[in-house]
Symmetry: C2
Subunit: 335 residues, 2 copies
DNA sequence: AATATTATTTCAAGTACTTGAATTTTTTTG
DNA sequence: CAAAAAAATTCAAGTACTTGAAATAATATT
């Protein structure tokens, strides 16, 4: 790798002259400046970013604690994050909870040693008895928690307005004259409990009962609880509609309904969450509550960059819920 | 951030004593060593990795030029990559072609400035007129190209054995007595042309004709060419079987068949590629050629780390094709 | 007790670059 | 043409740490 020194030697000037010339410092004579810039270009000189980081104490790197690379919703968030960080001249360092991470402490020390300027924190889903709160509190840089949260979260947070999203879905069914509504729960994540809350509140608001037997929790079950859903639907007195934690659950419900010969939407209406791109191949096309993962990512990056800029001011954590949107397709019956 | 100096001041010793004590150097008196280690622990001292990188000239960081975060196949590759790199003490720096990258040169200079020790290169799919060959050749560190390649690729390469995979799929249909076989092409990527090659070779080997009208190219078309497939299937004299570039194409073909009232597998057999996890909801369950993205990632990381270790020895590029495996399910008719 | 030996700690230089101060070179002025 | 002023360049210190050599302290030997 060619260094400042190499350029200096070739040009017969000192390193500091080269340094200033390459920054376009007007103090350096135009002729010298041009010549140095030409030589630097010719040798494809690339300044060592590590040195700059050391000097400024800013690595211009953001740490990202991520769950896994299979989930396209999280992938959408990352896309938004990268868009903003790239534009702001930051690079990223990703650590994946699911990939060979034994102790959480290691995650934080890996970020610390690389001196990341801030942290985008996707709470781990698969680590049992996870207790990262102490590490987060001890972390000496701005943090934004993304997508999932917990009661009493004292950090910046960006997620979806799941309570409202579930209300939207439930209202839609009620508007279409459906009142026997069940819910496919997924309680192991905060978005799951939030959607459940939105469902329950909306049912109560309309004076409709929430029937326990129509509400199954499929969190951590294989195939998003296909078996459980099948069992629930085969009992007599099944619901007319099912609000599902996400599109995968909804498609499992669709598969179960097909198995049982229940017609959708005539005999069973279905709403999912997420709008994963299966609506081009699955019939009927699924009505769903669309999320905007890229927006979540962009917003999270914005808040983090802002917090980094204001690192010396007193810490005022922000909590932002991005709106969700109902996409009406063909899986809810018309009146 | 607490530094070596801080620890030295607290312990009333010099920085070099602290440095050696923390490395467990036996030259430092046991008492002093223990005390320094305790203080370092108490203050949660984390050595600055940037400094180490500067001194050794090794950043212990691998650059990854990636396409997008939505594709779970590429996500599987990344997972395997992270597994190996994490175990070897490397961090990663990802740049995404699809996220705000105007010039390719910028990608390489971003990697160069951060002094990455090696590069995992996913060839860009969406950049028109892309010409990264010069940049790759000028890059002063080991490179492994992943998943997609090009004629005359002179770098390390790890991908799938698509020719053989397509042969496997085609053989399977022929074994089941299907001889009127069409192919859904996806020519814009190298894996697409390789699968096409495997199909053609196998058909020729069995003396079967490759009928142009049964072979449509859906590369870059919306919905994996649903419309084209629909048109092809509605013409008289349609094929008995269709080997499809990937599972998405196969599911689009399935949707088209449903639309036309063609029964699968009785009237049309289908094989996909990739085994994306839709087989739990789609009926009939898709027969497919499974790939092992994590293995590709692991192998690529291995080769890169090896090349980094042997950076001074003469360069002998490796080209490795990981096997694919036929998963028989229900979308190919039995004899 | 003086010296030799060993144990322990510190010094100084190097990593690649930036920055304000100091120095050198060039130009202007009396 | 010398002194002053301005312009251009270089010096030196700092960033956080490592490393072998040098210095110092402690212990052993005569």
């Amino acid at each position: 790798m060619v260094s400042l020194k190499d350029i200096a030697n070739v040009c017969n000037v000192s390193e500091s002259t080269v340094s200033k010339a390459l920054k376009g410092h007007p103090m350096i004579k135009l002729g010298t400046r041009k010549k140095i810039q030409e030589v630097a270009l010719k040798y494809n000189y690339q300044p060592n970013a590590l040195v700059e980081s050391m000097q400024t104490g800013r690595s211009k790197t953001i740490g990202i604690a991520y769950n896994n690379f299979y989930d396209s919703f999280a992938g959408g968030i990352l896309t938004g994050v990268f868009e903003k960080l790239c534009a702001a001249g930051y690079e990223t360092m990703i650590i994946c909870w699911d990939v060979l991470v034994s102790h959480e402490a290691q995650v934080f020390s890996r970020f610390s040693r690389r001196r990341v300027d801030g942290l985008l924190f996707f709470p781990p889903m698969k680590i049992p008895g996870s207790n990262y709160l102490k590490e987060l509190r001890d972390f000496h840089n701005p943090i934004v928690v993304i997508d999932q949260t917990w009661p009493g979260n004292e950090f910046n947070y960006v997620g979806s307005d799941n309570v409202r999203g579930a209300a939207l879905a439930t209202e839609h069914m009620i508007e279409r004259g459906i009142s026997d509504i069940g819910f496919i729960k997924y309680s192991v994540v905060s978005s799951g409990t939030e959607r459940w809350q939105g469902f329950v509140e909306t049912m109560q608001k309309h004076g409709l009962p929430v029937k326990d037997s129509w509400c199954v929790d499929v969190g951590k079950l294989p195939n998003y609880g296909y078996e459980l859903i099948l069992k629930m639907l085969s009992k007599p007195g099944r619901p007319e509609g099912l609000v599902c934690f996400n599109d995968n659950c909804a498609y499992q419900a669709m598969a179960a309904a097909n198995e049982l010969g229940i017609r959708i939407p005539e005999e069973l209406s279905l709403i999912g969450f997420g709008d994963i791109m299966l609506s081009t191949i699955m019939r009927p096309k699924l009505t769903t509550v669309k999320q905007f993962p890229e927006d979540i990512g962009r917003k999270a990056a914005d808040i983090l960059l802002e917090s980094i800029k204001k690192r010396d001011e007193p810490y005022v954590p922000q909590s932002i819920l991005m709106p969700e949107e109902l996409i009406c397709r063909d899986s809810v019956r018309r009146q």
